[in-house]
């Protein structure tokens, strides 16, 4: 990471927690964890409340769909770290690797329900172009996506349009797939608390 404080600036208690995570998971501590645990009162804790509500709060979208939305937003941000991390969570949530790789490979041909595909397209446009307009939203509503579902998808996009910028700006280290799989298991069991 580009800021030494994010690697080494944590309190003694947090460093002890990291040691425990390394021992129990047999994986390095993910940089996203190091970020939210550094001066957690400033960013980590208030952001985790947003992320937990967006990703695990009440929604018509199942967790797998929301994690796939996160991965699509990450891909549209060209954020390698978040794309891999949340593709892994989506795969674990769906118990299906093919659907996630297909969606990330070609959204137009992947075997997805049309409301989800239309939502993912809107999120991709919002992320790439920093805006969508009323016509985009009319098309989504016409595709059968409800207003609460659109709001929930936008909440996911908010969380990951923030996270991806931080992952890329702070230079998160991209570990091997096993570290992301361990992270995915944790996020499915415990959420973003």
């Amino acid at each position: 990471m580009r800021l030494a404080v994010l690697d080494h600036g944590h309190s003694a208690g947090t460093k002890a927690l990291f040691t425990l995570i390394r021992l129990l998971s047999r994986q390095p501590v993910l940089d996203a964890v190091k970020l939210v645990k550094y001066r957690a009162d400033f960013y980590g804790r208030p952001m985790q409340r947003v992320t937990q509500e967006a990703m695990r709060g009440p929604s018509a979208w199942p967790v797998g769909d929301r994690e796939l939305m996160a991965a699509i937003v990450a891909q549209a941000n060209a954020c390698e770290w978040c794309t891999q991390a949340h593709a892994a969570v989506a795969q674990a949530a769906y118990r299906d690797q093919v659907r996630v790789s297909a969606a990330l490979g070609d959204l137009d041909t992947a075997a997805l329900a049309e409301p989800l595909r239309a939502t993912l397209r809107m999120l991709r446009k919002l992320t790439r172009e920093h805006a969508v307009d009323a016509d985009d939203m009319r098309a989504l509503l016409a595709a059968g996506v409800s207003r609460p579902q659109i709001e929930d998808a936008l909440a996911v996009a908010f969380a990951f349009n923030t996270m991806c910028r931080l992952a890329d700006a702070f230079g998160f280290f991209v570990p091997g797939p096993q570290a992301f799989e361990a992270g995915a298991k944790y996020l499915l069991a415990r959420g973003y608390r």
Binding site: R2, L3, A4, V5, L6, G9, Y38, R39, D41, F42, Y43, P46, M47, R49, V50, E53, A54, G57, P58, S59, A60, N77, A78, C79, M122, L126, T127, H130, A131, V132, D133, A134, D135, D136, M137, R138, L141, R147, P148, I150, E151, D152, L154, A155, A157, F158, A159, N161, T162, C164, R165, L166, D168, A169, F170, G171
Partner: protein, 102 residues
């Protein structure tokens, strides 16, 4: 429906106005991606608009402008949350416009 309204407001107030090492006016400027003084302005704009292109050199430039690591941490977070907020609010307004007609 998931409701992030209050949690988002708390987050924004905390990072911009709460206790920190960069002055709140500078954090607000980073959040808005407007009114940041050079050479930091270029780095903040990159975080907001093209974060995947941020390099070691950008962070070095932030340091060279006199910022501590903790101040860079705060300013980058403000820039990231600020841009995500503008995207979110633009999309919510578009939804309001479209749904309001139905």
């Amino acid at each position: 429906m998931a409701d992030i309204k209050q949690a988002r407001a708390v987050l924004e107030a905390r990072i911009v106005e709460g206790a920190g090492q960069a002055p709140p006016a500078q954090r607000r400027a980073a959040f808005n991606n407007a009114g940041v003084s050079e050479p930091l302005a270029a780095v903040i704009d990159k975080v907001a608009r093209q974060a995947y292109r941020v390099t070691e050199g950008d962070i070095a430039a932030a340091r060279a402008s006199g910022l501590s690591e903790d101040q860079i941490f705060e300013m980058v977070i403000c820039a990231a949350v600020g841009q995500a907020t503008r995207q979110y609010e633009t999309a919510m307004a578009a939804l309001e416009a479209a749904a309001g007609e139905r």
